[in-house]
Assembly symmetry: C2
Homo-oligomer: 201 residues x 2
DNA sequence: GTCTATAGAGAGATAGAC
DNA sequence: GTCTATCTCTCTATAGAC
């Protein structure tokens, strides 16, 4: 059974098509069954390529996950770039980041699952923790800036960052686990209004 | 090398000692190396028991994780019981729950890691998601009650629950990943003061 | 109940043809 | 670059003695 090639094509558009298809299949299987319960044979079968193809291009099983991880993180970074360019006020930036993540959760749950929910340290021990990743560091940076320039009440910057994004990330996790049944964008304004009330100077 | 038997003894006190030691060793290895990179032989060696002992008492490898999971969740439930009995105001209850989790994170990081951070669905597919678990449902229940009786501003109850616990859970994750270097209890009051500001009617 | 020895299967990785 | 066939090893689980 071949993976639907129309799925997250945006995320792999820089890669040769068969490698992109391979990563799509890996994303599907890794989020569905988990990294350790997915064999390289499974990925090959799902993608419709050979074992040899995979080992030639990705070196080993971890290489597939690594390529996938970097690819998706880079795209997330691009999305944050856009938010940063488009919005200057800290309130607007944080809101836009969360909105972007919420929309992504609805449209590409597998991407979000792999990025936010998977325990990378187990199968990518040498990669940086997802929280130390450029995208997440920059997200926290928006909050730090807000405290410096007085847009956010004076408080421990790290605490502020947790308040800003904690609720949203929690909602994403619960949505991916089907605990929340409402599409996240529908809850965005309520979430943000009440979150910001705690930060408004 | 035997695991330090003094570690999370509180959590296993109902079990015969060698089974408790086995679970301790499993907790150590599962959080350190991950479930899939830990073999049953590893657990046996770490605990100083035989393979046969483990298969006799836990049935299979998943059985170890399942016993561990249920054991720890039950204890967490007991802690929530205590909070519920001791505090009646919603504000106090939520604060106390978070404090309990923060203290637990510092004192028993492995317990917290296994409970909150591990992707159980991958190795315990039939168990309920951690978020659907009794303890977490009850935690959300405290918030729902607060909205009903007016202690929390009128808003979507789920959103309120995410705001209440989202920041705290996020901090726990980052603390376990060594992104946060400050002991969590030191940040508790700052976190709670600013979180509650968003919920206070 | 507890242990050791071992069976049996599956998966990661490679060799070598094309 | 791509594929198939296969090698090798590790790990789960069990059989059977004590």
């Amino acid at each position: 059974m071949m993976t639907d090639t129309s799925l997250p094509s945006f995320f792999f558009k820089d890669l040769p098509s068969r490698q992109a298809i391979t990563l799509k299949a890996a994303l599907f299987l890794f989020t569905e069954k988990g990294f350790f319960k997915t064999s390289v044979h499974d990925v090959a079968a799902e993608a419709g390529v050979s074992i040899g193809f995979i080992y030639h291009h990705f070196k080993d099983k971890e290489g597939i996950a690594r390529a996938l991880y970097n690819c998706l993180l880079e795209r997330i970074n691009t999305l944050i770039d856009e938010v940063e360019m488009k919005h200057k006020k800290v309130n607007d930036r944080c809101y836009a980041v969360i909105k972007t993540l919420f929309v992504l959760t609805e449209n590409e749950p597998q991407v979000m699952h792999f990025i936010i929910h998977a325990r990378h340290k187990e199968f990518l021990p040498e990669e940086k923790s997802i929280c130390s990743t450029s995208a997440f560091v920059r997200m926290r940076g928006f909050v730090f800036l807000g405290i410096e320039n007085g847009e956010i009440r004076d408080m421990d910057p790290l605490v502020a960052a947790m308040i800003v994004y904690g609720g949203a990330i929690r909602m994403i996790c619960l949505r991916l686990d089907d605990v929340i049944e409402t599409p996240l964008p529908d809850m965005l304004d309520s979430l943000w209004e009440n979150t910001w009330r705690g930060l408004d100077p």
